[in-house]
């Protein structure tokens, strides 16, 4: 099912992980219900994320997609149901063990003032460090690699708060990379970025997936970018998962009308060949 879609612009190494049919489920939601106090935001969610997949969660504002990502990253505890990480209930796994396998990047994270890029990336090593072993050779090498891999090595001594939005997002991705996790959850990593920096960030995430074999889940607003970069789309509406599959399977004119209340044409993207949404008007 995961045809190599949406990454046509990338220098693809051979597809990481194993073919889809045999792929191992890394992260799963089972009948998950999520609520803020008494207000149920997501209900009856079942979702499986396999090794080496690149999934984008899409949906209108307030559909619960960021909430789902928080639950997958154990930032929020389901009121019923459970999230499984490698078959084990994530809520009962020590948070430090989770942090060695699963990294997450919140929406618009804030770095403390004066913190340099190098220090930020080095904090990614926290789950691997102890009070005695605070800066091993391993830590040093991994941080250097993460910096150079994200093209941030030259900016390592710059305070994060002096960077542009695009550079800042790269720095955070570099930190997540230094954390060394197989799984990476990103909540709207392109927020507040102009189009060329949105592409820049998604190319970087795409390379994490394609070249380093990371399993990626990303919440995205832009359907065209989601279709281009992700192998699998998950569409949500009103806290319920309504469609899941390849971008071609999910991004239909019918679904856009149902989920986004949008009349639209879906054409092949002239560059990547993935579905491209051309809006016509809002449906009432």
């Amino acid at each position: 099912m995961t045809i190599s879609l949406g990454t046509g612009l990338l220098p693809r190494a051979d597809t990481p992980g194993t073919p889809d049919t045999a792929a191992r489920v890394r992260l799963a939601a089972e009948h998950v219900r999520l609520a803020y106090d008494d207000r149920v935001v997501v209900d009856g969610l079942d979702l499986e994320l396999t090794e080496g997949s690149f999934t984008a969660i899409v949906g209108p504002n307030g559909c619960g997609k960021s909430t789902v990502l928080r639950a997958l990253g154990r930032l929020m505890r389901p009121t019923s149901g459970q999230v499984l990480l490698d078959g084990r209930a994530i809520a009962r796994t020590p948070t430090r063990e989770v942090a060695k396998v699963l990294g997450l990047l919140p929406q618009t994270p804030v770095a403390p003032e004066g913190l340099t890029v190098g220090d930020l990336v080095a904090r990614g090593r926290h789950p691997h460090q102890t009070w005695l072993r605070q800066w091993s050779r391993d830590d040093e090498a991994v941080v250097a690699e993460a910096l150079s891999w994200t093209d941030m090595a030259d900016l390592a001594d710059r305070p994060v708060d002096t960077l542009s939005g695009g550079q800042r997002q790269r720095a955070w991705i570099s930190m997540a990379l230094a954390q060394g996790t197989d799984l990476l959850l990103l909540d709207e990593p392109t927020t507040y970025l102009d189009l060329s920096h949105q592409i820049d960030v998604l190319e970087l995430v795409g390379r994490l997936h394609a070249e380093l074999g990371r399993t990626v889940v990303v919440v995205l607003h832009d359907l065209n970018l989601a279709a281009r970069y992700a192998q699998r789309l998950v569409a949500m509406k009103g806290g319920v998962l309504v469609a899941s599959g390849t971008p071609e399977e999910v991004l239909t004119e019918r679904l856009l009308a149902d989920v986004f209340e949008l009349e639209a044409r879906v054409l092949p993207d002239p560059v990547a060949g993935t579905p491209m949404v051309v809006p016509v008007r809002r449906l009432r």
Binding site: E113, Q134, R137, A146
Partner: protein, 369 residues
Amino acid sequence: MSVAAPVRRPGASSGEGTRVRGGRPLRVGPVSALLRWRQFAVPVAALALLVLAAALSMGRGDYPIGIGEVLRTLAGLADGPQEFVVLQLRAPRVVVGAMVGLALGVSGALFQTFARNPLASPDTLGITSGASVGAVAAIVLSGGSSAGAVLDGLGVPVAALLGALLTGALLFALTWRAGVDGYRLVLIGIALWSVGAALVDWLLTHADIHDAASAYVWITGSLHARTWDHALPLAVALAVLLPLAFAAGRALAVLQFGDDTARGLGLRLAGTQTAVVLLAVGLVGFAVSAAGPITFVALVVPQIAVRLAGGSRPPLLASGVLGALLVVAADLVTRTVLPQALPVGILTAAIGAPYLLWLLIRGRRRSTL
């Protein structure tokens, strides 16, 4: 464990030997750490100045002793009246002052890192005003009789400690909502501060004039007539709480990020926050019970320390030593330079506040509020 070795890209500088952070790695067997010379040099320099200020302070008084003689006496090489004056009369005052400054500096650094807000300090969070309520109540409510004098030796420090701890518990209970939000902590702290101040005023208006006067001296924060009896509880508290605070340092570096990032990096958020608040309140409680609320130290010193030592958060060790230096130096100045001996708390406020303003105006750092 390690990253699935990121592929090196041609052209990108990388690899071993690249100094990622401005410091020197220190590795002995399984132990490793990153040393930064400024974070090391600042406490060392401050410690040297502290010893100098302490020796000067112990030499000054009605019976002047040269600084060399003071150091000789402290090393146990002198005897006679000089030994009595230095070790029994003057040293307790200086040692209590240094320990109080140490506790306040570390506590302020803990609060500010925890709340992600440079305005968070035991003063602004109402902890010291809670201690004042306890102390003033002990002075005033026992008033009218000479029992007040007895209470002054034993009851007031304990009452102040209880006041601080109770206020800390109240602050924590009111702020707690499946975790502690730094902004909410500061707002509730300011409210508690006002309540405490109002209670103190109310107690003072009902007090006998003598009690009110002694209560007032206590509120200002003073090292006057401190003895080894004042030093002992504080020394014990520091011996327990300081190592714990330093052990929490690694968690603080991550706690400083937002809650989500901190948990994503594997921090047990609620447990860590609880521990940090308890440590900070405990340190303040014992400091205040020993010398009264010496204001501004916990607020100003961590900010001075972070500017001198660099980094992104107030360094615990530098904050502690600079706090001790500030209190001891301020006490020295009140006893020698000024024509009239003032409580040390007045001077710490007078030195600290303009210095903070100067730093804020001059510094490139914005204050993150």
